[in-house]
Amino acid sequence: DAGITQSPRHKVTETGTPVTLRCHQTENHRYMYWYRQDPGHGLRLIHYSYGVKDTDKGEVSDGYSVSRSKTEDFLLTLESATSSQTSVYFCAISAMSAGYTFGSGTRLTVV
């Protein structure tokens, strides 16, 4: 998706290990979001950022932390991965708090 890149695209990790997912944007948008997508739940907000070093929790933030040291990068860290965090993670950006553009996602498997 133009302007937003997620890495890695796929990752398998072991229970209890820390994992960091990266979202990079070239649009200079103020707002960045991390969602997880699970069958039967749609997409649910984990954390979001409204500026450099400005972040807040979403509805499913337990077990996750985020950091935004530059406008273009928003990192999601699973502090100690659990099997319940096996999911597809999507980053999104927006210039205002509407009209989200999503990345292509990271498929994370915790074994």
């Binding site: 979001y33 749609g42 997409l43 649910r44 979403g58 708090s97």
Partner: protein
């Protein structure tokens, strides 16, 4: 609990048919209602959106109908094509709130 309820979970129509996907919400503070289309292996992409000051919005073959009093909105796809086969998500938010709430998705299959 689910802020936006979406139905059906899956839908199969013949080419040229008009699939209809329905969504309902409870929070009357919501004032922005987008629909997203997602193909396998891709992120959701904004398809069309509506605000509650209008009852209908059309963009090409896609139409949103909005019923403010019933707190319901729906997506109609006119003259559906096999290329429309995808998962569709409705969503809702209050402008300025920074949380876009999604429905659970509808997997649409259009048979040639």
């Amino acid at each position: 609990q689910q802020q936006v309820k979406q139905s059906p979970q899956s839908l199969i129509v013949q080419k040229g048919g008009i699939p209809i996907i329905n969504c309902a919400y409870e929070n009357t503070a919501f004032d922005y209602f987008p629909w997203y289309q997602q193909f396998p292996g891709k992120g959701p992409a904004l398809l069309i959106a509506i605000r509650p000051d209008v009852s209908e919005k059309k963009e090409g073959r896609f139409t949103i109908s909005f019923n403010k009093s019933a707190k319901q909105f729906s997506l109609h796809i006119m003259d559906s094509q096999p290329g429309d086969s995808a998962t569709y998500f409705c969503a809702a938010m209050r402008t300025g709130a920074n949380n876009l709430f999604f429905g659970t998705g509808t997997r649409l299959t259009v048979i040639p």
